[in-house]
């Protein structure tokens, strides 16, 4: 089975979870091609080679510096014609999801959306995905050629980089596509801020910080800083204005999948669990030993987060030598 994997870029940098999609494809087939769309992406194309793509198509153009749905779709269709891949994979980022949806509409094909696992069965792609917000799992297959799947960030191991690999790099002219979108401005997250969906460690705060929210989140940020973690929050903390919405984890926030999730002053409502329940290790810090979060946590400390979080920061500094 031949795969074409979409490597999403943003201002010349690869979106990290794209390498997971490449890794997923390589775990199923040796015939894996990559498509890099962006501006000034020769480094990304080279990385796709080192990470094991057998051929890398590159569409490089100023108009592709930021993801543009219509242009990306035109490029993908163009390259699919050249590659004749049987399956098309992208990471289930906002842009990857939108691209897959547009391609599906175009080809009248189904999408295995936000897959947690992927396998080949009788020459067909089979995905496992969550429905009912992860409370039910299903096996999913789709009609259409190519078969389209988007992959949940952090659910698949990224393709490994091996220096010295070689593969054909094909420069493809940008497809002729008028875009209806005019970008008027871009505001980026502060440098050094780690994205929740890509983070391997997340420290989150909830309403438990209420007696001094500013201090509470300062303590949480400090711990996150030492651990190299992203900062998350419960909806209660967001709605109370302790922290901005882009930090919200859960049903109506972000779905995350870190190796380590540290919930500080979060009770563990089902809507919060919907966002972080598949974290590998969950740690709960809560002064109420009956809090439901303890029933999903692997480790816990019953206590006041205002004492426990700084103690953790201290212990981590010492033991990690920071």
């Amino acid at each position: 089975m031949k795969f074409l994997v979409f490597i999403e870029t943003d201002m010349g940098d690869a979106v990290a979870s794209s390498w997971e999609a490449l890794g997923a494809a390589l775990s199923l087939s040796e015939d894996v091609e990559a498509l890099v769309v962006g501006d000034k992406v020769s480094v990304v194309a080279e990385e796709a080679v080192q990470r094991g793509a057998s051929k890398v198509y590159v569409v490089e153009d100023e108009t592709r510096a930021l993801f543009d749905l219509d242009r990306a779709l035109a490029d993908v269709k163009h390259v699919l014609d050249m590659s004749a891949a049987d399956a098309f994979l992208a990471s289930h980022t906002l842009n990857g999801r939108d691209l897959a949806a547009a391609l599906a509409a175009e080809l009248d094909a189904g999408v295995i959306a936000d897959a947690l696992e992927l396998s080949l069965e009788d020459g067909r792609l089979k995905g496992v995905r969550g429905v009912y917000s992860g409370n039910i799992l299903v096996d999913v297959t789709v009609d259409g050629s190519p078969q389209i799947a988007t992959l949940r960030p952090r659910a698949f191991a990224p393709a490994e980089k091996v220096e010295g690999r070689t593969a054909e790099v094909v420069l493809v002219d940008p497809a002729d596509a008028d875009s209806p979108y005019e970008v008027l401005g871009v505001q980026r997250a502060e440098k050094g801020e780690i994205s929740l969906t890509e983070a391997s460690i997340i420290v989150s705060g909830g309403r438990g910080v209420a007696k001094d929210p500013e201090l509470g989140f300062d303590l949480i940020r400090e711990l996150a800083g030492v651990l190299g973690a992203a900062v998350g929050a419960s909806r209660a903390a967001v709605d109370a204005g302790f922290i901005s919405y882009d930090h919200q984890v859960g049903q109506t926030g972000k779905v995350v999948r870190p190796d380590l999730y540290i919930a500080c002053g979060i009770s563990g409502a089902v809507q919060h669990l919907a966002g972080m329940g598949s974290s590998k290790i969950i740690v709960a810090i809560n002064k109420d030993p009956e809090a439901p979060i303890f029933s999903v946590a692997n480790y816990g400390i019953v206590g006041d987060l205002f004492e426990v979080v700084p103690a953790l920061t201290e212990a981590a500094r010492e033991k990690l030598g920071k």
Partner: protein, 256 residues
């Protein structure tokens, strides 16, 4: 201006864990059904457009007869009209979008379609883009704020990954909004009473001239995810002692 909000009736989020694999497979749910929470934000977004730029906001859903309740909730929040596209067959983003596209054309001069980020049951988030492509209209996803709406264009702020992007696109347009568009307002008493009395028009696929295709997505083997084997290990002692023991445990787990 005419705004149309696409909503879906989905399980109350508190009851999602109670949905059994059998119920999920058949679609015959015994849990309490409400407006998909992301779509409550879409309704709020649609109502703000009406307030800020004039016109009317309607709500539409594709679903069974019972989905009328979700439409009544939309009316109670302030939508001016509601339409049920009655279809009980199995759906995916493609065939729902076929029905919505036909209903939108049928509605007349819709300027802005407002949708949610995703459904809490299907969890794909694909429908808005598929709908936009079928209509041949631009689609703006992740919309956190509408900056300006004119006769022939819309400017919005999109939340994409870690960035905030201001984009202008021609109308008619499809938006899918995130929570920052605004907290859903509570229904007013007057609107609840009015909503209870409104006769909600029902359209069938035949009315819309749609021969609904079979889904292109096939689901099998519905099951509960493996339970977390977690039996929590609690660390005791002073905060310092507990913290030190926890960090040791995490180092041993190789997650630090």
């Amino acid at each position: 201006m005419r705004y149309l909000v696409c909503i879906k009736q989905t399980p109350d989020t508190a009851e999602l864990p109670k949905v059994s694999p059998e119920e999920a497979a058949s679609g015959n749910l015994s849990v309490n059904l409400v407006v998909n929470p992301w779509d409550e934000h879409a309704i709020e977004g649609g109502l703000q457009l009406m307030e800020n730029y004039g016109g009317t906001t309607g709500a539409i859903t594709v679903g069974g007869e019972g989905a009328i309740d979700a439409l009544r909730s939309a009316l109670a929040m302030g939508c001016k009209d509601a339409t049920l596209v009655q279809y009980e067959g199995s759906t995916d983003a493609l065939n729902v979008a076929d029905l919505l596209a036909a209903a939108i054309k049928n509605d007349g001069d819709v300027d802005v379609v407002v949708m949610g980020q995703m459904t809490v049951d299907g969890n794909t988030g694909l429908t808005p883009v598929v709908l936009g492509r079928k209509l041949g209209w631009p689609v703006l996803t992740g919309v956190a704020k509408v900056v300006e709406l004119t006769e022939d264009s819309i400017t919005v702020e999109r939340s994409v990954g870690q960035s905030r992007i201001t984009v202008k696109a021609p109308t008619p347009v499809v938006l899918s909004v995130v929570k920052e568009i605004g907290e859903p307002r509570y229904p007013t008493f007057i609107n609840i009473r009015k909503a209870a009395r409104v006769k909600i028009p029902v359209l069938t696929p035949e009315d819309l001239g749609v021969d609904v295709p079979e889904p292109k997505v096939h689901m099998a083997n519905f099951r509960k995810p493996p339970a977390r084997e977690a039996k929590v290990k609690l660390f005791e002692g002073t905060p310092q002692e507990a913290a030190a023991a926890l960090i040791d445990a995490l180092l041993e787990e190789k997650v630090l």
